[in-house]
């Protein structure tokens, strides 16, 4: 493997490609007509190599990957092109012949492990099924073989896990089960479609490491689809950059990162947060610290009752002795992985759920057990921006109605003044006034998140809780939204409680970072200090897990 890599490093390919896509065009039939998704794509995967397809949502990268084994959605069709794999052209193979390729010679690691396993079948059964379909195991030998494959995929206690159902496993464990399904038949090629995007960063790294080791050992080639340039830079020998259904640049990873030829590649490199951690946009406006804090949280505890009594603990301590203060005009970031209690902490602060113990002071008043009118008063001064802008806006409201809803709820102003305010807010979040009449479905993800921010600012709150506000957005849009948030803070002096799993994003916006794990804050400090001198082992682990560090900060030389 090592010798082969050297041969391919400079892009001079001696061996014939394992997968050779030429002039591939794919389109989707919709009610509005035929929409082209992929246009004239050429792509090679060499045996034993990792080729990464990088691009933003809508670039056609997933469609390309799915077209290889013709696993397109029902309304998708291949219009032109050849997909040569070994001696077959997969684009023109019959469905029956294709089935002997799928699973046996080309494995797929799907995007979201939480929904990609059949919820009503045991893990072992689902792995054994691949072996049974391709006649690689008998009814009797399949269960034991499945356990062996799960073990190879790095699932601890494989024999126990094989008898469990998907919902009893964590996201990382489920992705290992899916990797087991993909490698079970020892395929020559694995297509990994955003294999870790739904997972926590530390899990992400472990899974990718393991996948890399497995494929290197067996000489399996990988077609890795990802939106994360950092992941691609770390893992792939070759990069294929896609934009709007076309390949804009392709070549050895090192060459592209060092010297991107295409405008779009440069743009992508510049906005990838994980590759540009040296850039910081922390605003300088530091208000005098002697003013009373806006939010003061002391020894906050939240316990949830667990459903089934009997063995095991009866309660889950989601938030465990958490204390912090937040000043006006400041941004405090709560960083942690899923289940660390960061979102629960925010919900406690907004009085969306009751505290089990501890105290919350908002602008000097104790709101820990506030009810009725006092909660309403708090809601007026503390607003929320959600993670998913696709779900947090009522699809039947016009944008004008969305933004003025808080004003109507608090009976602020009359119709005309509310509309003026909405127009003003849209202007602030850099959206044209014509947006007022449109519906959420007509806007892009980034535009929707701008609307959500405008809505949160409608009542001129003192605090905005941002719960993973950019996680659902493309990297270049992420950068714009983060800039907007910083700008609005400088203008209005609003304080942010910024919740994120992404340290790289946090570095760009926070004045103070609190790292959470298992309900506790393990370390706090200014981002620069945390990034350069992490004290807690977990913080170091999180930092190490940020992808894109194996290449020497290429973006700094290009931007």
């Amino acid at each position: 493997m090592a010798a082969m890599t050297d041969e391919h490093e400079n892009g001079e390919d001696v061996t014939t490609p394992l997968l050779e896509i030429r002039g591939l065009s794919v389109s989707y039939r919709t009610r509005g007509g035929t929409v082209p998704a992929v246009r004239g794509v050429d792509l090679d995967v060499l045996p034993g190599q990792v080729t990464a397809v990088v691009g933003e949502s809508g670039s056609g990268k997933s469609t390309t990957a799915h077209a290889v084994t013709r696993l397109l959605a029902a309304n998708g069709q291949i219009d032109a092109g050849t997909i040569r794999f070994g001696r077959h052209d997969l684009a023109s193979l019959s469905e029956a012949e294709l089935r002997t390729v799928r699973g046996a010679r080309i494995g797929l690691v799907p995007q979201d492990p939480t929904v990609s396993l059949n919820p009503v079948k045991r893990i072992g059964e689902q792995v054994a099924e691949v072996l049974r379909i391709h006649g690689l195991a008998t009814r009797r030998s399949a269960p034991a073989e499945a356990i062996a494959v799960l073990d190879r995929a790095g699932l601890p206690d494989a024999a126990v896990r094989a008898r469990q159902y998907p919902h009893e496993l964590s996201g990382g464990m489920r992705q290992r089960a899916l990797i087991a399904i993909a490698i079970a038949a020892k395929p020559e090629l694995i297509i990994a479609d955003e294999p870790t995007s739904a997972l926590d960063v530390t899990v992400q790294r472990v899974i990718l490491d393991h996948l890399q080791r497995l494929t290197e050992e067996s000489g399996t080639a990988v077609l890795l689809v990802t939106h994360d340039l950092g992941v691609a830079a770390d893992r792939a020998q070759r990069l294929v950059v896609m934009s709007q259904g076309k390949v804009v640049e392709a070549g050895p990873t090192r060459d592209i990162l060092a010297d991107p030829q295409d405008e779009y590649t440069r743009h992508l490199l510049a906005s990838a947060p994980s590759l540009t951690t040296t850039r910081s946009r922390t605003p300088a406006a530091q208000p005098a610290p002697e003013t009373a804090p806006l939010v003061e949280v002391r020894n906050l505890v939240k316990e949830f009752r667990l459903p089934r009594a009997g063995d095991g603990p009866r309660t889950l301590r989601a938030v465990d002795d958490v204390s912090f203060t937040l000043h006006r005009g400041h941004t405090l970031a709560l960083v942690g992985e899923s289940g660390s209690g960061k979102s629960t902490t925010a919900r406690l602060l907004l009085r969306l759920t009751d505290t089990s113990a501890g105290q919350i002071l908002f602008d000097g008043t104790d709101v820990t057990a506030a009810r009725g009118a006092r909660v309403r008063e708090l809601r007026r001064r503390a607003q929320l921006v959600y993670q998913n802008p696709y779900a947090s806006l009522d699809p039947r409201f016009s944008i004008g109605e969305v933004i003025t809803e808080p004003l109507r709820a608090f009976k602020v102003g009359d119709r005309a003044s509310r509309l003026t305010r909405a127009r003003d807010l849209l202007d602030r979040v850099a959206l044209p006034a014509a947006t007022l009449e449109r519906r959420p479905a007509e806007l892009s993800g980034g535009q929707r998140q701008r609307v959500a921010i405008a809505r949160a600012l409608a009542l001129s709150p003192d605090l905005v809780v941002c719960d993973e506000p950019v996680s659902a957005l493309d990297v270049s849009v992420q950068a714009q939204v983060l800039d907007l948030l910083a700008e609005l803070q400088a203008d209005t002096g609003v304080a942010y409680l910024f919740i994120s799993h992404d340290l790289a994003v946090v570095r760009q916006i926070a004045h103070e970072v609190a790292v959470m794990r298992a309900g506790r804050i393990v370390e706090t400090g200014p981002p620069e200090e945390l990034f350069t001198r992490p004290r807690h082992a977990y913080t170091r682990e999180l930092l190490a897990a940020i992808p894109g560090q194996r290449v020497s900060s290429p973006a700094s030389t290009t931007s």
Binding site: G103, S116, N118
Partner: protein, 319 residues
């Protein structure tokens, strides 16, 4: 699990009590008098002596205050005694018990047919790649739901007994007599099953795990039946539980159309002559069947979907 079943049984008793009470009150408010009807039926002419009527009313307890009557009847009902049928003088329980086997045969057969026909239609309609066949099959359920049962029954009789002479038009002996009424009863029920199952099959086929199965190299039939069907069966199962009530109600019409001696006929006759004890017995018995079926359905859920746990809190929920 045991606590769950006990709790559900307690709920069932509550439902039965409510059914009894509501039917008692409704029947009491109805105009007319069962004693007059009974006396009229017993002695051919209309000139019944008022003293005789009063005696009868006293005998059946109709002269007591309503609350006392209610307590009396409830007390006896708890012990399984629903009194005597006013029209025949036979105990209500044995009247129902005599009619029960016929109705159980009918509804059981209809339920089986409904699940087989409806389920089969849904599976084939969502599996076929022939567009016209899919469209045709998927247009059948709405039709099946919307046509009235008695009309379907008459149509089937016309076609299969009067023209083709395949099955008898009425009677209640043996399997041949059962075919047409069971089919009549199964059509609207099966149509609902088909509609719900087809919809949830299409939803299931859209899920990511189906793509995983296809990526394994599984054939379409395997994906359809082994992966999608079991996931899609839960909503259909819920509907089946609810449809058992509809089947019992539908048997009133079907047994009348096909002249079968069953619970439905008994009910229809009792309502016509205002035979209150029988009507009450039927109501409580119908509620009993409904409650029992749905308890069974709830206990089957966790077997189909491991994510559902039967909680001691009293209801099935997602873990």
């Amino acid at each position: 699990m045991r606590r769950y079943v006990i709790k559900r049984l307690a709920q069932a008793v509550g439902v039965l009590w409510a059914a009894y009470t509501v039917s008692f009150l409704v029947l009491d408010f109805l105009p007319g008098d069962p004693v007059t009807a009974m006396a009229g039926a017993g002695m051919d002419s209309g000139d019944v002596h008022p003293a005789r009527l009063a005696a009868l009313r006293h005998e059946y307890g109709f002269d007591k205050p309503i609350l006392v009557q209610y307590a009396d009847y409830l007390g006896r009902a708890v012990r399984g005694d629903f009194g005597d049928a006013v029209s025949t003088g036979r105990p209500v329980t044995s009247t129902l018990a005599d009619a029960l086997p016929q109705t159980l045969q009918l509804t059981g057969a209809a339920l089986l047919l409904a699940v087989l026909l409806g389920g089969g239609l849904a599976v084939v309609a969502t599996y076929t790649s022939l567009r016209w066949l899919r469209q045709l099959l998927l247009s059948l359920p709405p039709l099946g739901v919307s046509v009235p049962t008695f009309w379907v029954g008459l149509l089937l009789v016309e076609a299969f007994s009067f023209r083709l002479h395949w099955f008898p038009a009425f009677g209640n002996d043996g399997l041949r007599d059962l075919v047409l009424p069971a089919l009549t009863l199964a059509i609207p029920t099966g149509a609902l099953v088909a509609q719900v199952l087809a919809k949830s099959l299409l939803t299931a086929l859209d899920q990511a795990y189906v793509e995983t199965a296809r990526a394994k190299g599984a054939g379409r039939w395997r994906v359809h039946v082994r992966h999608a069907l079991r996931n899609a069966s839960l909503p259909a199962l819920t509907v089946v539980g609810l449809l058992v009530g509809q089947l019992v109600a539908g048997s009133v019409v079907v047994e009348t159309v096909f002249s079968r001696d069953g619970l439905g006929r008994v009910t229809a006759a009792a309502v016509t002559v205002q035979d209150l004890p029988v009507v009450q017995g039927v109501v409580v018995f119908g509620a009993l069947i409904f409650v029992a079926t749905n308890l069974v359905v709830d206990l089957v859920y966790p077997l189909l979907d491991p994510r559902i746990v039967v909680a001691s809190g009293g209801r099935a929920s997602f873990a």
